[in-house]
Each structure stands twice: as structure tokens, then as C-alpha cells.
């Protein structure tokens, strides 16, 4: 169980996250939905203890991230497509992570197989396409077989087959009793993947409800529901063509 309580994060004059509170429960895929610049990635980094909040706190099973005994076996995270050195092979990257996490080397081969990168495991990861980079990131997240998984825009750069694979993977991870938290701005993807949605705009919580409830609010359309709750909160907006 992850508890996010009263998070505030400012970067200079910009308030990226503004008093955000929610809970994440195991056994479900929770979607984290919001327009670009709404504070989703910042919240992910705050959960991971990579950035420090100005106010508020995050606890993962009762402890902040930096107090976890074996972080990689408790939380797996894909925060951005490229979280690896381009000069290192996919296998070496995972072996280094495994060493820090006290994870047996044999697990590296397993996760490489799970994400379908076995054939290119020895190649410098800098040569990977965006889709392959995402797969390597997912492999790293799965490495420690963690009970909590955080994914920030995991389907970026994936082909339709890859998108479907990620969707199936998220659902099966949740079905195994894990806490799965997926940030995305793709409403249609969230409609297919998530059980519950946390909607944010301008760093504030706009809705926290099951996908079914939200769809009812939008008269059957999750997209309409999203625009009704997120209406004025887009940071960057084009002008309607007319």
C-alpha cells in the first residue's frame, strides 16, 4: 500500500504538485491521468525519493522509499524511457541493478526473456529504438519481482503489439496481487487497462474513482468524463480550428 499525503513540490515559481493526496491499493491497476505538465512525472519522482517534496510525505508499506531494505524487490519503476547508460549493454545494465538489489544473476536472463530482448541483450543499449528502451526499462522494473510497480508513460514508442503486451502485463501483475500505478495522458489506453483512475490537473487532484464510475459521469464516455473534470486544467492548449 502506498500513501501519498499532502504533497507539494515547487520548481522555482512553478508549482508542479499542489497538495496531492491519494492511496494506492494492491490487486488493481490504478491509472494516473492528466494533461502534459499536470505533475504526474513529478509525483512519480517524489514517490521514489528522487526529488524531495516541499511539503507532505509518501509512505510505501509505512516507510519512505529511502528507508526500504531492498528497494528493487519492493518497488519497480519505469520513470522515463532511458534510465540507462547508452554505452552499456542491456545485460550489463541489468546485472549492475541485480548486484545492488541482491538479486541472483539468473533473474537477469529471465526478465530479458519476459520482455523479449534476449537476442539483443549484448548490444549497447544506446542503439535501441524507443520501444526497445521501454522494454529494457520494464525488465529493470520487474527485476526484483516487486509488489509495487510504477510506470510513467510505458507505451510511448511501442508498436500496437507492444501496446497490447504492456496492457496484458499490467493486468496480470495486478491479478497477482501487486500494486500497479500507470501514469499516462492516453485516455483510451487507460479505459482499457485501469481499474481505477486518479485524475490530476495543474498538480491538484481532480478525481479519484473507478473507471466505471467515471464513465457513468461522462454519460458512458470516459473521454467526456475526463474533459468535464479536467476542463480548465490543461497547461498548454491549442486553439480550436473554426
Amino acid at each position: 500500500m502506498i500513501e501519498v499525503h499532502g504533497l507539494v513540490k515547487r520548481y522555482g515559481a512553478t508549482v508542479a504538485v499542489n497538495g496531492l493526496s491519494f492511496e494506492l491499493r494492491p490487486g488493481a491497476v490504478t491509472g494516473f491521468l492528466g494533461p502534459n505538465g499536470s505533475g504526474k512525472s513529478t509525483t512519480m519522482r517524489l514517490i521514489m525519493g528522487l526529488d524531495y517534496p516541499d511539503k507532505g510525505r509518501v509512505s510505501i508499506g509505512g516507510r519512505p522509499y529511502r528507508r526500504l531494505s531492498w528497494p528493487l524487490s519492493e518497488v519497480g519503476a519505469l520513470l522515463e524511457a532511458r534510465m540507462f547508460h547508452p554505452g552499456r549493454s542491456a545485460r550489463a545494465h541489468l546485472l549492475a541493478m541485480a548486484a545492488a538489489g541482491g538479486i541472483p544473476r539468473s533473474r537477469v536472463g529471465q526478465v530479458l526473456g519476459m520482455v523479449g530482448l534476449d537476442a539483443v541483450a549484448g548490444r549497447r543499449a544506446g542503439t535501441f529504438s524507443l520501444g526497445m528502451a521501454q522494454r529494457l526499462g520494464i525488465a529493470a522494473a520487474l527485476l526484483g519481482d516487486p509488489g509495487v510497480l510504477l510506470f510513467d508513460e510505458p507505451v510511448n514508442g511501442l508498436d500496437p503489439e507492444g501496446v497490447r503486451w504492456v496492457r496484458t502485463l499490467m493486468k496480470s501483475l495486478a491479478a497477482e496481487g501487486r500494486t500497479v500505478f500507470v501514469a499516462s495522458h492516453l485516455i483510451s489506453e487507460m479505459a482499457l487497462t485501469a481499474d481505477r483512475l486518479i485524475v490530476v490537473g495543474r498538480g491538484q487532484l481532480l478525481a479519484d474513482a473507478s473507471v466505471a464510475e467515471l464513465a457513468v459521469r461522462g454519460g458512458g464516455s470516459l473521454e467526456d468524463a475526463f474533459f468535464s473534470v479536467a476542463g480548465g486544467s490543461a497547461e498548454f492548449r491549442g486553439v480550436d480550428a473554426s
Binding site: 519522482r45 521514489m48 525519493g49 528522487l50 526529488d51 524531495y52 522509499y65 529511502r66 526500504l68 531494505s69 531492498w70 528497494p71 528493487l72 518497488v75 519503476a77 520513470l79 522515463e80 532511458r82 534510465m83 540507462f84 547508460h85 547508452p86 554505452g87 552499456r88 549493454s89 550489463a92 545494465h93 546485472l95 549492475a96 541493478m97 548486484a99 545492488a100 538489489g101 541482491g102 541472483p104 529493470a140
Partner: protein, 261 residues
């Protein structure tokens, strides 16, 4: 295999850093260039030496000087490469106790650079000695101060590397950190030499050339030793280099803990 523990420890962090360091080709290219460059320069200088009264040990070790910059750059890249690639987030996700990350990098990178530095220094010394002609008798490691000069010059490579590591953690951007390193190690001494003769002897590059590698008193220009600034003794010079590296690493660690990654 590491024995099971209740939580991750320094050993896990160090093992990760060792895999990261050895799995980059650039590490091995830079180390090879450092050693080969040092030996080649030492050999050429030995081959062309005509003054039997000169400091033959210091001459044989002169090729270590360019390698110092490479060692420093490798140290910088050891940290800034993680920031430019996004790897730092993966590293801190695995080892969220941040001082442990820099301590592990210091131990692993420092050990590798110490080995490389001593190999480069000893091989340079032997090659530079063997290359001597004109009936000049080669220095031997048994003579006073010679073994000390070779050992400390090798250690200097490690200490400048660690200075680079600390600067990388402070500055985080590759180009800026390399500029500060090269500026501090090579450029500033030139300016200081012109305006403040006394201070220049405490600059890293001059410590190595004039305190650590020297086995005879330096002579500066026509005035002989009297024309030189006061160079620290070899051990005082080594202590100064340790101090520079330690200050950079402590500041880097302090900032690593406090700043957003």
C-alpha cells in the same frame, strides 16, 4: 555471491559500481591510453636524455602528466555520465541512501585507478630507464627516494581521478566539470605562476611533477633551486592531493544528498 543480509549494504553498492565501471568500453580505452601514453613518453625522454646529472626518475615519470588529465576526466564521467543518460535515477532507485552511492564509486573507481596508476608508473620507470643511452647509468628502485617517487606518482593518478569524481558530483554536467578540472589542474597554475609564485607549488600538477616524482632538488632557470617556489615535501604533496580529492568528494556527497536527482 554476497551472503544474504537484512538490507542492502556498501558491498551491494560497490558491486554495482564495479559492474558499471567495467562494462563501459570507454573505461578500458582511457586506461589503456593513460598507460601507453605514459610509457611512450617516458621511453622517448629516456632515449633523448644526455644529462646524467639530471633527475632521471622524474624524467621517466614525466609521461604520467597527460594521463592525470585523462584520469580526472574518467572520474568526472563516472558521475556526469549517469546524469546525462538518466542512469542516475536507476542507481538511486537501487541504492536510495545516497552517500553510499558516492562512497561505493570512490572505493571502486579509486582502486581501479590506483592499480592503473601504479602499473603506468612502474612500467614508465622501467621503460624510461632501459631507454637511456650515452652511457648514462639507469636509476634503480633501491636508490634513495626512487621507489617513493614511482609509488607516489602512481598514487597521484588515483587522487586526480577522485578529484574528477568529486567535481563531477558537484557540477553534474560533463562539459562544465571537465572545464573546471582542466582549468584547475592545468590552466590556473600557469596564471598563478605569473602572479603569485609562492602558491603555484601547491597546485595539483606541480605537486606531482615537483614534489612526488622528484628524487633531487629542482632547479628553476639559471638560479638553481633558489629560483624555485617552495615545493612541498613528497609526503606533504601527497597529503595536499588527498585533501583536494577529499574536499571535492565531501562537497559532492553533501550536494548529492540535498539536491533533487
Amino acid at each position: 555471491m554476497i551472503a544474504p543480509t537484512a538490507h542492502y549494504t556498501f558491498r551491494h553498492a560497490a558491486r554495482m559500481e564495479w559492474i558499471k565501471l567495467r562494462s563501459l568500453r570507454s573505461t578500458w580505452w582511457t586506461l589503456a591510453l593513460t598507460v601507453v601514453g605514459a610509457v611512450a613518453l617516458g621511453t622517448v625522454i629516456g632515449f633523448n636524455t644526455r644529462n646524467a646529472a639530471g633527475d632521471l626518475t622524474n624524467n621517466a615519470l614525466a609521461g604520467m602528466i597527460p594521463g592525470l588529465l585523462l584520469a580526472g576526466v574518467l572520474g568526472v564521467l563516472c558521475v556526469t555520465g549517469e546524469y546525462s543518460s538518466g542512469m542516475i535515477r536507476a542507481t538511486l532507485a537501487a541504492v536510495p541512501r545516497r552517500p553510499l552511492v558516492l562512497a561505493a564509486k570512490t572505493a571502486v573507481f579509486g582502486t581501479v585507478m590506483l592499480v592503473a596508476g601504479e602499473v603506468a608508473a612502474f612500467v614508465s620507470f622501467l621503460a624510461g630507464s632501459l631507454a637511456l643511452r650515452h652511457g648514462i647509468v639507469a636509476p634503480s628502485l633501491g636508490q634513495p627516494d626512487v621507489l617513493r617517487a614511482v609509488l607516489l606518482t602512481g598514487a597521484a593518478l588515483c587522487l586526480i581521478g577522485l578529484l574528477g569524481l568529486g567535481l563531477g558530483a558537484i557540477i553534474r554536467h560533463t562539459a562544465a566539470a571537465i572545464a573546471v578540472l582542466a582549468g584547475g589542474v592545468y590552466v590556473v597554475p600557469i596564471f598563478l605562476g605569473a602572479i603569485a609564485h609562492g602558491v603555484v607549488a601547491d597546485m595539483p600538477i606541480l605537486i606531482v611533477g615537483n614534489s612526488l616524482s622528484a628524487t633531487k632538488p629542482m632547479s628553476c632557470g639559471g638560479a638553481g633551486a633558489a629560483g624555485c617556489p617552495h615545493f612541498p615535501s613528497p609526503w606533504a604533496g601527497l597529503a595536499l592531493l588527498c585533501l583536494y580529492a577529499a574536499v571535492a568528494l565531501v562537497a559532492g556527497s553533501w550536494l548529492l544528498v540535498r539536491r533533487d536527482a
